[in-house]
């Protein structure tokens, strides 16, 4: 019976041992090789004192080692925490501290950059390096992944966990504060994989191109669907649309998932000049695809099915629009994925009528376990299902998305906006307060508020309203330069406006709607 993430790998390795599992550049690993290596690394992790439920960070660019790490940590009984490599050292340190990380898998180069930010994290006991250490002495033991690969594969492997156990923590932002760790059980991840591969019709024949990071739920799900079905996953790190196009053609890709920014890059980057008869489907998530981009894709990919999807990390994947509905409802986010119910609820917890705007509430097997170490935030998002008969008690939690939607008469959903001030840019969720905190760190600003401004390519860009301390003149270029040092690119405000005072509500809080109205939003 398959009930843990690495069982999917075990199963595919038994059924398709000689089939290509992972491709990265010139490196190609078969399922048998991946399974053997993961078993060895899992033994190594256990011998290095990883216990059941220990959190292991993975800070790697797209690579074979990144895939091996995910399945090895699972097999060893740990919890993997994939970290986007665009994050700056302070943000990585926040994640390590927040989840009480025991070990970090990374490269010697990356560790050299991270080490100063990580030195005082007491939970962190060892590092695992993908290449031989570069001579920099670390304060904690460093193991080499290569050494572990030489460990014999145990004939009898005993798993420590069950499907209810925590498998992964994905860090994501909300409307306030620092990123929070969404906890996913093995059952959550496997349900997400099975559900999505059902409606996408994924089989062992698929060759999936992964351009989204595995720290992002939809990116990770691509990897899971591939390994569940014995398909091939091709990893690339791209800068130019041409690199994606070359991979699509050269690797005979049949499936590609992207966020709107990826599609904009492709639509403006020459996708029209090529034909992709092998590309069976593409999926969009992480924000609405601009209609102009959608039209270009539909024209350039006449034989490719286009699935518009919606999901939030806290509930993994939620809705999809079947390709045959694209003509009729191009602006819809679709309806519930299989084995899932999407409720549109009003403020009293009752169902909205068709056309009435309410909050999207997700019910199903991919509802996460909440935020790591943050019961208060969890209780705001995961609540008892208000529509269950009282006799059932609070046996089931549903996920309140914070997204406002309306449903049409046929049950299709349409995105209306956010309940809160959260910003979304190039697929990333951005908390305004996290950006504002960095602005305050300049020491020159008395008040700051940031909002999202609609943008064709990025979904939203960030505009910052700032008020100087003591009325001193502010140099916006210098402030932007400061931000660039402290945050990844997607979080840095693009525009600044200096105000004498920020608009406030009657309770003295920043009046974000007033700032949006200023911008005509």
């Amino acid at each position: 019976m398959d009930f843990l993430i690495h069982h999917m790998l075990r199963n595919s390795a038994a059924t398709y041992p000689e089939k290509e599992a992972v491709v990265h550049g010139s490196r190609r690993l078969k399922y048998r090789e991946v399974a053997d290596r993961c078993a060895s690394i899992a033994s190594g992790l256990r011998s290095a004192s990883m216990q059941r439920g220990d959190r292991v960070g993975i800070y790697l660019d797209p690579s074979v080692e990144q895939v091996l790490s995910i399945f090895s940590v699972s097999q060893g009984g740990g919890v993997y925490v994939p970290i986007n490599t665009v994050l700056v050292p302070e943000q990585v340190a926040h994640i390590a501290r927040d989840c009480g990380m025991k070990a970090l898998i990374t490269t010697p180069d990356k560790l050299a950059t991270l080490a100063p930010a990580l030195h005082d994290i007491s939970s962190l006991q060892f590092f695992v390096l993908t290449d031989p250490p570069d001579g920099n002495v670390q304060s904690k033991p460093c193991h080499a992944l290569d050494d572990w690969l030489r460990l014999p594969v145990a004939e009898q492997w005993s798993d420590w966990g069950i499907s209810k156990d925590l498998a992964a923590i994905l860090y994501t932002s909300g409307s306030t504060g620092k990123p929070k760790g969404v906890m996913l059980s093995h059952a959550n991840v496997m349900a997400g994989s099975t559900i999505v591969s059902t409606y996408l019709g994924i089989s062992d024949r698929e060759r999936i191109l992964a351009v989204l990071p595995f720290s992002f739920d939809a990116g990770m799900n691509q990897l899971m669907t591939a390994f569940e079905h014995g398909a091939t996953i091709v990893l690339i790190k791209f800068v130019f649309a041409k690199e994606i196009i070359n991979a699509l053609l050269g690797e005979h890709i049949t499936a590609l998932a992207g966020v709107p920014t990826v599609w904009s890059l492709l639509a403006n980057g020459g996708i029209v000049k090529h034909k992709f008869p092998e590309l069976r489907y593409i999926t969009n998530t992480g924000g609405a695809m601009p209609q102009a981009v959608l039209n270009v894709l539909r024209e350039s990919l006449p034989t490719t099915k286009i699935f518009l999807m919606y999901g939030l990390t806290e509930a993994f994947r939620s809705t999809y629009l079947p390709p045959e509905e694209l003509d009729r409802r191009p602006t819809s986010m679709g309806k519930a994925i299989p084995d899932t119910e999407i409720l549109v609820l009003n403020e009293h917890g009752g169902r909205c009528e068709p056309g009435e705007v309410g909050e999207l509430v997700h019910r199903g097997p991919t509802v996460s376990m909440g935020y790591w170490g943050n019961r208060e935030a969890t209780d705001r998002v995961l609540k008892p299902n208000p529509l269950l008969p009282p006799e059932l008690g609070d046996c089931e939690k549903v996920c309140y998305s914070g997204d406002l939607v309306r449903m049409d008469d046929d049950g299709f959903l349409y995105y209306v906006g956010r309940r809160d001030t959260m910003i979304k840019s190039s697929g990333y969720r951005i908390s305004p307060t996290e950006v504002e905190e960095v602005l305050f760190q300049t020491g020159k600003i008395r008040q700051a508020a940031v909002i999202g401004i609609p943008d064709e390519v990025l979904g939203q860009t960030i505009k910052a309203f700032i008020v100087a301390k003591d009325g001193a003149p502010l140099d916006c270029d210098a402030i932007q330069e400061f931000c660039v040092e402290k945050m990844p690119r997607y979080m840095v405000p693009k525009n600044f406006e200096i105000l004498q005072e920020l608009p406030k509500t009657s309770s003295g809080k920043v009046d974000y709607p007033a700032l949006r109205r200023r911008e005509g939003l």
Binding site: F238, V239, F240, A241, T261, G269, G270, R489
Partner: protein, 90 residues
């Protein structure tokens, strides 16, 4: 190429200001910024916007290649070529 010197200075200044890794690694005009991860896909978009505004040139999608963006020097040469083309059209 003296006409490139000015472009190199302006592009270098922009990159040092907007790309934190460039400053930290003290990149030279010949360093490959793409392979080292200093400039990513969103970074290229920012560079394109900057080039179009700063040098009044038009960047087309076929121009978006590693050859044109891998070093500060390449970018300056690329901008000079574009300026020449638009000059020829006028």
């Amino acid at each position: 190429m003296p006409e490139n010197t000015d472009a190199i200075v302006r592009i270098r200044q922009f990159i040092l200001q907007r790309f934190p890794l460039a400053k930290r690694r003290k990149v030279t005009d010949q360093d490959n910024l793409l392979e080292s991860g200093v400039v990513d896909s969103l970074g290229v978009l920012e560079l394109v916007t900057f080039m179009q505004q700063e040098f009044s040139v038009t960047v087309n999608d076929e121009d978006l290649t590693p050859e044109n963006f891998q070093t500060i020097e390449c970018m300056a040469q690329f901008v000079a070529r574009l300026a020449l083309q638009s000059g020829a059209r006028e």
